[in-house]
Structures are given as C-alpha cells and as structure tokens.
C-alpha cells in the first residue's frame, strides 16, 4: 500500500453490470474528481461495445465472424483483430498447441451432443498446423484452418486491458480495477485485494482459496466448474485438451498473474489443460508470472511469484 501524505481521500466510484460479454462487469475507480468515475464508466462501456463488435463469436456480424467466412485470402482487418490473431498464433507455437483457438470445433460438437445429438462427428485438429497468417504492418490476416475458432480465451483479457487503457486516460484518475467475469486488472496507486474463488464451492460468500495483493498487474482464472456440458448424465468441462481432443481433466482451476490481462488469460488457458507440475514449469519461463493451480484431487500448487504476492490467510 502506498502512503503519500495528501492522497488519502480519493473519490471512489464502483459500478456493476450483468450481461456484459455474457458475464458480469465490475468497474472500480479512485480519482481526484467527483465526476471522473462516471466518465470512466461511460468510456469503458463504449470501449466494450466497440470491441465486442470485433471479437464476438455470438454476433454473426462481428468482424471476427465475417473474417471466419473467408479462407486462404489476405483480408484487411482492424489493428485490434490483427494483434489478437497474431498473438494467438504465437502462443499456439510457444505452448506446443496447448493454446489452440480452433478447439472451438470440439466445443460445437459437444454442444450438439449435450443437446442429444447421437452422432459423434470426428474433428481432426492438428495443433502443429498454423491456424492463420497475420501481416501486422499491412493489417491483413489470412485464414488457413478449415475449423471454426473462438478468441474467447484471449479476447476477454485483451478487452480488460483496453478498458484499463481508456480508464487511465481520463483526467484525475489514480486507480482503476476492471473485472470482467473473474478476469481482472489493476492499475494505479494502491492495490487490489483479490480473492481466488474455490472451485469446489461456487458460493460468493464462501471462504476464498487464497487472497493476493495485486498492484499494476492482471489475473485470469480458468476452470471447468462454472461452465460445461452434460452428456449421458455426466458433466464435462467446457475447456478442451488439444492433445487428446477431450474435455480437460488435469486441473480444477488455474489462476495466472501477468502484466497484462491478455497474457494472464492465455496463460490460464494453457495451464488449464496441462498437469499442475507442467503448468507451473511453463509459467516459470517468465519470472514475473504467478501461477496457482488446483489439481483434480483438490491439491493446491503455486509458484514463487504467486507466493510472493499472497496475503496471509484470514481465518
């Protein structure tokens, strides 16, 4: 916590929404003016609307979906889409295919099975195959894959980052926290005390697994405990393991801390399909990445960077 003499009395503004990107949105602003919080709120909502128009998989007319209707041609795209597509491809290679937006193809099949479809469509995904090619300077993207993709595991983080960017541009804003459905980023003075939800107990008021002091960093969490499919009476995670093409079973929940929400989002997705030890090793490739994993039996694992940010348990 920071403690400059004159700075105790920031105006605090908080707003909560439901039905934003299919989930909830929390905005917290600390500023030196009475009106800045409202202005941040307006700008953040406008930015989300703009980016949803680019990345949404639910809107048929989103830039991403229109682009998905093309194949093997270089199509002009917005700088935002070009950047996120390019990062996706880079992380696919870096993670040996653990990060694979085209697992959306499997999601589609399982969604049909959950609705009672009997046929078992064979989806042949090759994680080593490039999904697309992006020319960043020229702002074009060429779709190579035949499979449908979803940018959900990266775009939400990117949107959180963009919201923080527009918020900090507002005059007299000193502190910002944006939390979209559990993925969040803090910027500015002070810190956010972040409680990590227990995957075995979804209640809002249950004891968190641990709490972390987050200052000028982002955190994302991945886990199959809130969303999934029920097929033949059995519940499965909505997260797919690109290696065996089945719902992920290695971990219950993974949280990652990184500089940006986009990176945290990607890392949480990758660690969400790896074994706990593999995941922590992957996170440790970068000193500043914190990782916390709840294994399938409920055992908790954390790396050093995470441990350093942890606050003592309040019991």
């Amino acid at each position: 916590m920071m403690a400059f003499g004159r700075r105790k009395t920031l105006y605090q503004h908080r707003a909560d929404y439901e039905g934003v990107l299919g989930t909830s949105l929390e905005i917290q602003v600390g500023s030196r003016s009475k009106t800045a919080g409202r202005e941040v709120e307006d700008q953040v909502l406008a930015e989300i609307d703009r980016l949803e128009g680019i990345f949404s998989v639910y809107r048929a007319d989103s830039e991403f979906n229109l682009w998905q209707a093309t194949r093997s041609v270089a199509v002009p795209v917005s700088s935002e889409l070009a950047f996120v597509l390019s990062e996706s491809e880079q992380w696919r290679t870096e993670s040996n295919g653990a990060f694979l937006p085209v697992v959306e193809a499997l999601t589609k099949v399982w969604r049909e099975r959950a609705l009672g479809a009997l046929h078992d469509k064979l989806v042949d995904l090759d994680p080593s195959q490039p999904m697309w090619e992006v020319d960043l300077p020229a702002l074009t993207a060429t779709r190579l894959t035949e499979h449908p993709a979803s940018l959900n595991a990266i775009a939400k983080g990117f949107i959180v980052d963009r919201c923080v960017e527009v918020a900090r541009e507002v005059e007299s804003v000193k502190q910002v926290l944006i939390n979209i459905g559990g993925d969040l980023r803090h910027w500015g003075v002070g810190a956010a005390q972040v409680a990590v939800a227990n995957p075995n107990d979804g209640a809002e008021n249950s004891q968190p697994l641990c709490t972390v002091n987050l200052s000028n960093k982002a955190m994302a969490t991945s886990g199959g405990y809130r969303r999934g499919f029920t097929v033949d009476g059995q519940r499965h995670s909505h997260i797919f393991d690109p290696v065996n093409m089945k719902p992920a079973i290695n971990v219950k929940s993974v949280s990652c801390i990184a500089k940006t929400a986009m990176e945290a989002d990607i890392l949480a997705t990758i660690l969400g399909v790896l074994l706990p030890e593999e995941g922590l090793a992957f996170a440790d490739r970068n000193d500043s990445v914190g990782a916390f994993v709840v294994g399938k039996t409920g055992n908790c694992y954390q790396n050093k960077a995470w441990e350093e940010l942890r606050t003592p348990n309040r019991t």
Partner: protein, 198 residues
C-alpha cells in the same frame, strides 16, 4: 428518528408481515414442525444454499441492482448478512437506505474498507446474473445459531427505481428441504436449499 419515520416504518412492517405470510410456500411441512430440541445448535453437517438470478434482458446489459441477502430470527432480528451489494460514490461506500429493510437498524454492521485497497474476486467466467450464497449456520459474529425458525430475505432496489423484497420463512433443524422462491422485476428467480454439506 422523527415520528413520521416511525409511522412509515410501522406501516412498512405490516406490509412486510403480509408479504411474509403471502410468500409462505412451505407452510405445512415447516410450520408444523415441533419445537423439540429448540435449544439445539445448528447441525454443522448441514448448510443452506441460496441461488439467485438477476433479471437481465437477453443480449442487453443491465446495471446490477443494489441487493442484500440476509437472515432474521423469529423475533425479526437480523442475524447474518450473506451478501450486500451497494454502489459506491464520492468518498467511500454509499450505504443506501434504498435497501430499506436491510438498512433499518444495521448501521452498526457497516464495514469500512481501507481507501487504498479494493476487493474483488477472481474466478472462472461466471454466467451473467447468477449468484450463489451459502449459510453455515453462524451469525455475523461467527457463533452457531440455535435450530428453529428463521426468515430469509432477498431485497433488491434501484436508486429512483423499483423496490423488491422476497421473504421466506424457514424451519432449520435436521431435515433437508428445497424451495423455489417467486421472482420479481429485479430478481428473476431464487431457490433456497437446506442440505447436507458437500
């Protein structure tokens, strides 16, 4: 507190009393339960779960209403707040009297967070508008309560907007139950379940 406040408070009470009896949906089973073992403590093998769904319009975002979920004992004393959502503005939280019933005499329960530290929750992506709360049988001071009759309140309000209250009487002993609580314009629906702890 002046006398007109006192009057409005009383009339609100009587409206609430009407509501409480109207919303009764588990009357026979629960109300007829004997008071055997009235001084028995809450059985910690059990827990109560409350699930609520905030009304959203498909595809449109809505501001989350101010809401409070809490329990009162048979004398009408609030014993445990499970959840409280309010909007903050200016310097610190605005503990809005819009949540009328919760606000009644609860100023003492206010907690002031340090100005620098904001609290938030990290989790896998939640479904819009769905929230769950559990009650472990303890009061706000962390002490186990007695078995007996309690009332669950789910209150939702908007500034300059609607005011909604769901009330459900519950008999807490060692018999599980589950009930659907009717929704309203802010809370689409709610369920309460008394069950063996998972």
């Amino acid at each position: 507190m002046n006398s007109s406040d006192e009057t409005s408070r009383l009339s609100r009470r009587s409206i609430l009393a009407g509501l409480v009896s109207a919303v009764f949906s588990l009357p026979s089973v629960l109300a007829l339960a004997t008071t055997r073992g009235a001084s028995k403590k809450f059985d910690t093998r059990f827990e109560m779960a409350v699930d609520i769904e905030i009304a959203t319009q498909n595809g449109f975002r809505v501001r989350r209403p101010y809401a409070a979920v809490w329990l009162e004992d048979s004398t009408g004393k609030a014993i445990r707040t499970l959840s409280l959502w309010v909007q903050t503005g200016r310097r610190g939280p605005r503990w809005i009297p819009d949540l009328r019933r919760w606000f009644r005499d609860e100023q003492a329960r206010m907690q002031t967070d340090g100005g620098d530290l904001v609290n938030t929750v990290a989790s896998a992506t939640r479904e819009a508008g769905r929230y769950s709360f559990t009650w472990d049988g303890k009061n706000d001071k962390g002490k186990l309560v007695d078995q007996g009759e309690y009332t669950l309140y789910i209150e939702a309000a908007r500034q300059h907007g609607t005011y909604q209250l769901i009330a459900q009487k519950l008999r807490i002993d060692t018999r599980p139950f589950k009930a659907e609580l009717g929704g309203n314009i802010e809370i689409k629906g709610a369920t309460v379940e008394f069950r063996k702890r998972k």
